[in-house]
């Protein structure tokens, strides 16, 4: 019996979500009276997972796995789970983890619940709380299979350092044919992605045109934030679809979400509702976003945002 956790890395370095899923796995393991085994693929410094509660690491190092492939990665995690006798498996909500999780669920014949936001309310029956209806509600969901697969919503549990140590074992699984091969990757390496970002700065039609996006980008740069946009902005082609957040775009679960010139249509609010603190800046005091936000400024973005960017620059310099 153990709780298996897949800890994602990129070019050898763990993603922040990796430490969060281990922290979560530790909480689940404590509830079940068992321990956490982490599975790593081509990751460095795997001992660091001990600090978050992994007592064992199954470390896979194989050059054939340098490029992410959902089928191969799912197979590796499946083999590790079976070898370790894992009965709960935890993955994150990254694009890659959400891609491999359904394949893993079939391989393990595991009931799978994604978008989970809290530690289980009970481990027998195994019951977790997940978001539903694009964050407009939660569903308490029971998993009845022997092996259970949980996808943890990013930024929902946080990092918990428990300060333990870990034993590392090399694990050499068999690797199936990929079926899908990557031909090219187009990724801005110098920018924070919306999925990984702690802060997201988002612009709407209130910014009047793509030529004004320096406002959003400058503010994002000061905060180390990802940039995003509303659906109309992506539909108008002002910004790439990859920045569209909302019900039919990307979900946002950042610590801070700053909406500039976004009125706050119900579909937009649904997509960003998991963010912890929401700030809105809009000229229209009747904009629905003010009902969903924690902090708001009624004002013209073209005046307010440059001032805010300056003040934050000064704040950052002072607190550096």
């Amino acid at each position: 019996m153990s709780v298996i956790v897949y800890t994602e890395s990129e070019k050898g370095k763990f993603k922040k979500a990796a430490f969060e899923v281990v922290s979560y796995a530790k909480a689940v393991a404590d509830q079940m009276g068992t321990s956490v085994t982490a599975v790593t693929i081509n990751a460095e410094n795997v001992e660091s997972l001990g600090n978050y509660g992994a007592s064992k690491v199954l470390s896979v190092n194989n050059a054939n796995l340098d490029t992410f492939n959902a089928k191969q990665y799912a197979s590796v995690i499946e083999q590790a789970t079976k070898q370790d006798g894992g009965n709960v498996v935890i993955v994150s909500s990254s694009a890659d983890s959400k891609y491999l999780a359904p394949l893993l669920a079939v391989g393990l014949e595991a009931g799978y619940v994604p978008n989970v936001v809290e530690a289980p309310s009970s481990v027998s029956p195994f019951t977790v709380k997940r978001t539903a209806f694009t964050n407009k509600a939660f569903a308490n969901t029971e998993i009845s299979t022997d092996v259970k697969l949980v996808g943890l919503s990013n930024n929902s549990f946080g990092l918990v350092e428990s300060g333990g140590s870990t034993s590392v074992e090399e694990f050499t699984p068999s690797i199936p044919d990929s079926g899908v091969s990557v031909e090219s990757v187009d990724k801005a390496t110098d920018k924070v992605s919306i999925a990984d970002a702690e802060i997201v700065v988002s612009g709407g039609r209130g910014l009047k045109g793509p030529e004004n996006w320096a406002l959003v980008e400058d503010l994002a740069e000061v905060l180390g934030a990802a940039t995003a946009c509303s659906k109309p902005v992506s539909d108008l082609g002002w910004r790439s679809h990859s920045e569209h957040v909302g019900q039919t775009g990307k979900p946002v679960a950042s610590n801070l979400y700053i909406a500039i010139g976004i009125s706050g249509a119900i579909q937009h609010l649904a997509g960003i509702n998991s963010s912890k603190v929401k700030v809105v800046i809009n000229t229209d005091p009747e904009a629905p976003f003010f009902k969903a936000a924690d902090y708001g400024i009624v004002g013209d973005a073209f005046e307010v945002i440059p001032k805010l960017t300056e003040k934050l620059k000064a704040f950052k310099a002072q607190n550096a």
Partner: protein, 248 residues
């Protein structure tokens, strides 16, 4: 090429979400149901394959009789035939098993599903289906080209996109980008008339047990009132974010 497009029957994106029966059931009262937006992008892309490459396009839904208007709409948009697996769609794994049988029986080459449905947002059915029928699978698709049995697919990844090559049989989880919003088709009168005559086959379900079960629902706690900061005093916002919200 035989294409199957999976159609989820979901509440319109503007729906207010409520629950009944002691918060154990979704309240469908006054809710307008539509084709899941992610599926509609896929259906529109399938129409392109039909018109340009001579593909046949069937649509499928796992659900009760109440989902038939949604399937008829897909027929009005241009699908050739519809299949409804007559059982309530509860758990994603159970739905994937029902669909696997439909795909195997119909010998489909390409299955286009949405990235996720906008009601449960599980995003698990396409991957599970692919795994069950041992087909290739690409999630979060924003581009799809087929030539013979080879497929070129663009997948959205965190912070960018990647282009992959694979082969049929293939299952994809599609989304906006497969086609653009402006490419979506509103059924015309002729389409609607023709849809009435197209086959809608109801088939009885397999009997797989559900692996997961939503026992109760809850809504987020009501939000406190927004704290307004004067536009001339952005210092205060910085201070609130630092000292009160502790997010910077």
């Amino acid at each position: 090429m035989k294409i199957l497009v999976c159609i989820s029957h979901v509440p319109d994106t503007t729906s207010k979400i409520n629950f009944t029966d002691g918060d154990t059931k979704f309240d469908t009262n006054g809710v307008q149901f539509v084709i899941n937006p992610n599926d509609e992008f896929g259906l529109t892309r399938a129409m392109w394959f039909k018109e340009k490459q001579g593909a046949s396009v069937d649509v499928v839904n796992v659900g009760g009789p109440e989902t038939e208007p949604t399937l008829r709409k897909a027929l009005a948009i241009g699908a050739d035939a519809a299949i409804r697996v007559n059982t309530e769609a509860t758990d994603g794994f159970a739905v994937a098993k029902q669909l696997a049988k439909v795909v195997n029986d119909g010998a489909y080459d390409l299955v286009i599903a949405g990235r996720e449905s906008i009601d449960y947002n599980g995003g698990m059915v396409p991957g599970m289906l692919a795994s069950l029928i041992e087909a290739n699978f690409v999630a979060n698709c924003i581009g799809l080209e087929i030539e013979g049995t080879r497929a070129k697919v663009v997948r959205e990844i965190d912070g960018g996109k990647e282009t992959v090559s694979t082969s049929l049989p293939l299952v994809i989880g599609g989304q906006k980008g497969l086609v653009e919003e402006s490419d979506l088709r509103i059924p015309n009168m002729r389409g609607i008339m023709m849809a009435r005559k197209k086959p809608l086959n109801v088939i009885e379900p397999l009997d797989p047990s559900a692996e997961t079960n939503a026992t109760s629902f809850e809504k987020p706690a009501p939000k406190g009132a927004v704290k307004l900061v004067d536009a001339d005093n952005v210092d205060e916002l910085v201070s609130l974010l630092h000292n009160e919200a502790k997010v910077i």
